[in-house]
Symmetry: C2
Subunit: 377 residues, 2 copies
């Protein structure tokens, strides 16, 4: 595909932002991204907003217009939703509108304000990402991913310790990210001893409830900088019970193949990746389904250190969803920002040396939607 | 812009569909559109779903994957939301993805299931289209549009009777549409005597709470049939209190100008239009802002009969939102279907003779989002 430039990025602190509204967060990230792009805001001709939950939590829909209004823009505006993959979908659709030649510069803003809601409210809201059958069965997302983890352990001998290692690595990375929700180390023992949420997943295998916003300005007119050279989305059956396999996310494989073809690169070319570690098992599945290692060997692969900072291909240098945090609508956009900062060589203490080609994998629900992006210098 | 074909259309009955779920309705419309396109479903490579309310009403988000799953498709899928303009936005974004060359055939499905919800639940859900300030002030949508109507009456002398005439005309058209929610005539006297909802709007000035789904297959590869030659979206401040004027919807003007330029046509070329008559005042504003008549003369223009079947440019031959019904997410897609059927000369009893160029105007909230499409043979 024709490459689209990431002209500017803006990111709020991720965490429990009790003094800020969703609009405050989205506005802050947007202004920063437009400033970073060194662009007059009136050059923005489309605004894509990614959000899943604020309608249910606080009643506000129509976010495209809300956020465009806050920026005093009369250009086209849209809200895009695909559960936790909303950010990746918004990036993908913004790219389409630029490739079409209809717009020249698109602002993509992902934002979520989750900590204002009660636990029952947020659980109900998040379960909108699953099928109605799964909700009726009383499943929650930790339980759904626990089923995937159990299947993987049973079929491939993946261990509880290997799952825990994902969380340990990502917390270690987060210590180097000033925007991270949980910028502190955790030990393998702490993960293993954390309260069981749904076996085998303990509390420290699960990504947190986070507030935050992430924005990028994508441009069809920039000729230098960081570019998106692959952008693909695929869908799988939303019901786990209807899937062919519980040990892979088929949509990751399908979308990755398209994105690699578009960019003309292979998995071995990738120097850095941000993947959707909503639960520790998800990062293991991502490694396998993206082709970083053979099916069944994801746990061993991660525990071996290749995806740590200093390894061959560091994964989730931001801290990932686990430790940087997971404000649902912002996550897919934040992944693009982390890779952009790495490719700009501006990731400070967590910089991956020689990073020139990166990948993001953003998952909705239990893999019913997957968006893959490939970025390069 | 490069023209995109409307290759197939599918529409459920609009009404109180108590025996059908949102998914039933979306599936029915989608299957019909794919069949109408004479296309193997596996040729669909992207699914765009338009919906505003089901997350709040029944908890189900992630509708792109839900509906793609129901069709057993693994292609890209998305949900697009922009309040009552969601359908128009989904059409616009599907067009972008086709113009980009990324996809060849896109299914756009708009669906809403409103009658399962209680009155307070649906009122809360719909108010997500407004600003938080408007919600805090206790405003509802009839009240917001009543403010627009009062301003118009005060500034231009528009009368209560002229407002009512819009409802009378659209009900008259709906008698010829077997899919309409309210396919019966109403009299001017009935509208004037209907219970006051928010002065000057009575019950019969307001569009109803409706269930229904509408689907179209858009194609970049078809070389004959009906085409979309203009597609534009614009945004205005979401807060009425922040607008420059209460007697126009600026976003309609902005989007119409772009769409006319794209299609290379003028308002006088338009032979038929479907506009967003959520309240009777909205159709008066649409006539003026689209340029069918000078500002301030919309009431007189409609009462004069030009937009009735048999007039120079019939408007809302489907019955409009008022009488065909307004299942929010479906409305913008249904407008495209009505114009397509007219241009195909397949609108049966409500056929506009010689219809070869049509327009749709789909409004979100009180005009914070407007999507305009131009269709031609």
């Amino acid at each position: 595909m024709t490459k689209i430039a990431v002209a500017g990025v803006g990111l709020t602190k991720f965490g429990e932002m009790w003094d800020k509204s969703l609009l405050d967060l989205a506005f802050e990230a947007s202004k920063e991204a437009i400033k970073d792009a060194k662009m007059n805001k009136n050059k923005i001709d489309a605004v894509f907003v990614s959000n899943m939950l604020i309608g249910k939590i606080a009643g506000q829909d129509h976010l495209g217009a809300v956020i465009a209004s806050s920026l005093d823009l009369n250009c086209a505006s849209f809200k895009v939703e695909g559960a936790c993959a909303s950010g990746g979908l918004a990036i993908h659709l913004a790219i389409q509108s630029l490739l079409a030649g209809t717009y020249k510069n698109a602002l993509v803003v992902g934002a979520e304000k989750m900590t204002d809601a009660s636990t029952s409210q947020i659980t109900w809201a998040l379960m909108g990402a699953s099928s109605s059958q799964e909700r009726k069965a009383g499943l929650t997302f930790p339980a759904l991913y626990a089923l995937l983890a159990q299947a993987h352990m049973q079929k491939y001998g993946t261990t509880r310790e290997q799952l825990a290692q994902v969380a340990v690595k990502n917390h270690s990375h987060a210590t180097l990210n000033p925007k991270a929700h949980y910028p502190f180390e955790i030990t393998l023992e702490q993960v293993l001893k954390s309260n069981s949420i749904s076996y085998p997943l303990g509390l420290l295998d699960c990504s947190p409830i986070t507030d935050g916003a992430a924005a990028v300005v994508l441009s069809a007119t920039e000729s230098s900088g960081i570019f998106i050279s692959g952008s693909a989305v695929a869908t799988d059956n939303i019901d786990l019970a209807q899937r062919d396999s519980l040990t892979e996310l088929k949509a990751t494989k399908l979308a990755a193949k398209i994105a690699f073809d578009q960019a003309g690169v292979e998995i071995d070319d990738i120097k850095i990746a941000e993947v959707h570690d909503c639960f520790t098992i998800a990062e293991i599945l991502a490694m396998e389904d993206l082709g970083f290692c053979p099916k069944g060997e994801g746990g061993k692969f991660i525990a071996g250190g290749s995806t740590q900072l200093g390894g061959r291909c560091p994964v989730n240098t931001s801290g990932g969803l686990k430790a940087c945090g997971h404000p649902v609508g912002a996550t897919g956009v934040k992944q693009i920002i982390e890779i952009t900062q790495q490719l700009r060589q501006s990731a400070a203490l967590r910089q991956v040396r020689g990073a020139n080609l990166g990948l993001t994998q953003n998952v909705g629900g239990t893999g019913a939607t997957v968006a893959i992006h490939i970025l390069q210098t």
